[in-house]
């Protein structure tokens, strides 16, 4: 029994992180119609910003959670500015170009970010200082680290904030309008350019929050983590149905479930990736637009 509870807690922890990342990916896709291959690198950059900010502030403030909140704020601001700049320089001139050119441009941006970080921060893996303290809690006979609960709570909090933002605020409603029909939205006096920038900033914020949580759960990181995160968030977003926020959350949790449960059932843990992608391929073959994706209607 205790094993199940522990596994479930791990699943929720990883799932909520994947969900945040997938939401970021999905929002950019929904508004700008772009598979943003630089998403993972933005995640990676924000991990580094967090690392340097947290290490610098550790000596000033002795309290963990103040350091965490301040570092997170700094990292959100930096990555938002970064994403805004990237959108302005590398994606906006391509608004009218074929879709794939923008994807390739994002691959280029990703390469630049990855190797610039590699140059300035070094290739060796680093260890994030402990920003969220963990004490072992006993729940139903299982030992669960308190940081796990913090991660789940923080992720949930930001998901709710984002949902409220999208449902209630003027900006959020405009965002949803653009994602439904860009042309009609622009007739209603909504400027798609502003909102596309906004979607990139939201995506970057989600990446930064996800990065802060990810580095609490897995404190070792190097400049290459972006690659894997890229694939995982892309996969989670597509699995649930790209462009849909509920789908991204579902995809994130499903992917986490596969990632955590598969190694327990398999003799060799390194088969994990194979199982994860096999599940993904089967789901897509049965339901070609993801689990919660809208059905594509072919217009003649």
């Amino acid at each position: 029994m205790s094993v199940y509870i522990q596994t479930f807690a791990n699943l929720l922890q990883l799932g909520s992180i994947y969900a945040l990342l997938a939401i970021g990916f999905s929002i950019v896709y929904g508004i700008a119609g772009l598979v943003n291959f630089a998403h993972g690198e933005i995640f990676m950059v924000s991990t580094y910003v967090l690392f340097f900010a947290a290490s610098a502030m550790y000596s000033v403030f002795q309290v963990n959670w103040i350091v965490y909140i301040l570092a997170l704020l700094i990292s959100i601001v930096v990555t938002s500015v970064l994403a805004f700049g990237i959108e302005k320089i590398a994606y906006r001139p391509l608004r009218k170009a074929p879709k794939v050119s923008v994807v390739v441009s994002s691959v280029g941006v990703g390469l630049m970010l990855e190797y610039l970080t590699l140059y300035f921060a070094g290739a060796e893996s680093k260890k994030m200082p402990v920003i969220v303290g963990s004490t072992a809690l006993k729940i139903g006979g299982a030992t669960i680290s308190s940081s796990t609960l913090v991660i789940i709570a923080v992720a949930l909090f930001f998901m709710i904030v984002l949902t409220l933002f999208l449902q209630k605020s003027r900006m959020g409603i405009a965002l949803r309008a653009v994602s439904q029909d860009e042309k009609a939205a622009s007739f209603m006096g909504i400027s798609p350019d502003v909102l596309i920038s906004l979607s990139f900033v939201i995506g970057a914020c989600m990446a930064a929050i996800g990065a802060s949580l990810y580095s609490v759960a897995y404190p070792i990181f190097d400049p290459y983590i972006g690659d894997n995160i890229n694939w995982w968030s892309f996969t989670a977003a597509v699995l649930g149905g790209i462009g849909s926020m509920k789908g991204a959350v579902l995809g994130g949790f499903l992917l986490a479930a596969v990632n955590i449960i598969a190694p327990m059932l398999l003799p060799v843990s390194s088969y994990r990736d194979i199982v994860a992608f096999a599940v993904l391929i089967i789901v897509l073959l049965i339901k070609p637009t993801g689990l919660l994706g809208k059905k594509l209607i072919e217009k003649v």
Partner: protein, 340 residues
Amino acid sequence: MNRNKNNKIIINIILFIIGLAICFVFENMGLIKSSIILVIEYIGIYTIFVLGVNLINGYLGVFSLAHAGVMAIGAYSSALASMYLFDSALTFPISILIGGTMGMLAGMLLAVASFKVSGDYLAIITLGFSLIIKSILQNMEFVGGSRGLRPIPQYTTLIYIYICVIIAIIVVKKYIKSKFGRSILAIRDDPVAAELVSVNIRRSKIVAFGLSSFLIGVSGSLVAHLIAYTNPASYGYTSIVDGLVMVYLGGVGSITGSIIGATVWQILVQSLRGIGIWRWVIGGGILVIVMIFLPNGIYGNRELTWKDIKNLPGAIKEKITSIRAGKAAGTNKKQKGGKQ
């Protein structure tokens, strides 16, 4: 007319033999440094690779990421064939064919997946395929696991590459002009309309994926036999990105574009090796800049022909006058963009 055609064939054959002789001289006389020959060899191999990727990503217009997995299949199967079955330099073509055929079979499987799934979802499936292949290879002790497979006999020579490149270019050229080639262009532009004029979409896709994967498999087997070593790590993220970059840099839906893409990117990658990390920064920057100014790649959706080369001086003059004319050129360009 007939005599004209015969003359053309003879000229082409003579050109081919001259090229063969040049390759032979380069390789055996020691006129140029072996490091430069290696770059030329890479350019040749990646030209085949890019031609293959371009068939799917350019001509068929499907965003596929399967090329890394297919290349791995080609490399491993041909390497195993020449290590255990045909251990002689003379039977190397058989190994190449085995690599290509295995790649082709994998590609046909993917074609079946593409019947139902499309767009970014297909991209995910092909990505999954590549990563599954990589993972399987990492876990198979029989092929060396993540340490890789070695020693593979070093059979690849410049002449082999040259012959393969020429064959690949001819095959792709003939294919695009054939019924199947024209049908994939129709599918790219409008699948529904293509189906209405009774294009057999499934058959055309299978042929396109098969041919593309065959070429990619061949390039994989050539690489494996060139560096005498292959490991799963070389078919991961960087390999996928490499393929995309070369196709979209050179130009989608164009043989000339494929050659340009492979040449530019390989020269860049190999010559910037000295500056280490910065070459990827520069490479990424070039990619962004090329995409902003030439969204279809350097030579997208058109071919370089003898006529273009003959008309080059005239075309340059025209361009200069049109730039001087100023606004007229701007409107011209816009019209071109609208068509694509």
